[in-house]
Subunit: 147 residues, 2 copies
DNA sequence: GTTGACGTTGACGTAAACGTTAATCATGAC
DNA sequence: GTCATGATTAACGTTTACGTCAACGTCAAC
């Protein structure tokens, strides 16, 4: 549970050279984000991640870790992996062509609409929850008051 | 698409009597909320809805319609039907026993934590989207500016 | 009386998102 | 060497949330 940020013998600096970059093993990321390695590999199969390899072994750079964070955030909001894939590629690949840019803007607008709907849904739901909570607390006091 | 609020010959008032209550057919609700009748029946199978019957036919009262709304709101927030079931029963069944009340309050607190996490996620995501949008618009102006 | 619109209950199919073995390989520690 | 640890691919299994027929009932309209 103590968030392994660099891992064992192989995680951190790769030798002391100047172009040092933090790296992570698949198990480290799995522990840090409390998911399984299976899930991480699955995201890769779906094109959401593309870590380097040393031989067969996957080596995750900070960029990969950031992408994984984005993926999990998308999941918490209930998006499908396909939708998340769109969003993720959105961030790091602003298109260069005019037509693509316009489509890009349209997609962004759609996402924003969804997110704003969710924001509204959350607002309403929180209000209802608080009402229910207040009612329950009242009831509790009643029960305790009546000895 | 013109939100059928009372339906054909059978939807509205049930005769003119005083205890009138708006009712809905399954198809009406399906149209109104843009889902399939299959989905609605599925929610019933899962214990999320329990409409009256006239013979075999399902008759939905305003309360059922409200529950359906709640279900769909839960879906938009990415909750599973099971989680939604919990929330829905939460609202209309404040428990009477002390122990249950305390568990109830715990559940509410959990939900609230989830919702607040989502709220935060949405905030961050919206900010990122807006950054991406601004970048795209800038790029568009560049392309158009260069004749 | 049959057509059409709408309703019903099965029951099998499917896409998404992993879980769960299984078999195998690489490596540092002893 | 071998043993434990952690990595790999491959492949089948599982759960959720419906979609998609199929076969049938019912009622108003023609």
């Amino acid at each position: 549970m103590t968030a392994a940020r660099t891992g064992g013998r192989d995680g951190g600096r790769d030798g002391g050279r100047d172009g040092e970059e933090e790296t992570y093993s698949i198990a480290e990321l799995a522990r840090e984000f409390d998911i399984t390695t299976r899930a991480i590999r699955f995201y890769e199969d779906e094109g959401l991640l593309a870590p380097r390899r040393r031989g067969q072994t996957r080596i995750y750079a900070p960029r990969d870790r950031t992408r994984l964070k984005l993926i999990l955030r998308g999941k918490r909001l209930g998006f499908s992996l396909q939708e998340i894939a769109e969003m993720v590629t959105m961030y790091d690949a602003t298109p260069g062509e005019t037509g693509q840019l316009e489509l890009f803007l349209k997609r962004i607008a759609e996402r924003r609409a969804t997110l704003e709907q969710q924001r509204e849904d959350i607002k309403v739901t929180l209000a209802e929850l608080e009402a229910a909570e207040a009612a329950a607390k009242r009831r509790l006091r009643e029960l305790r008051g009546a000895r």
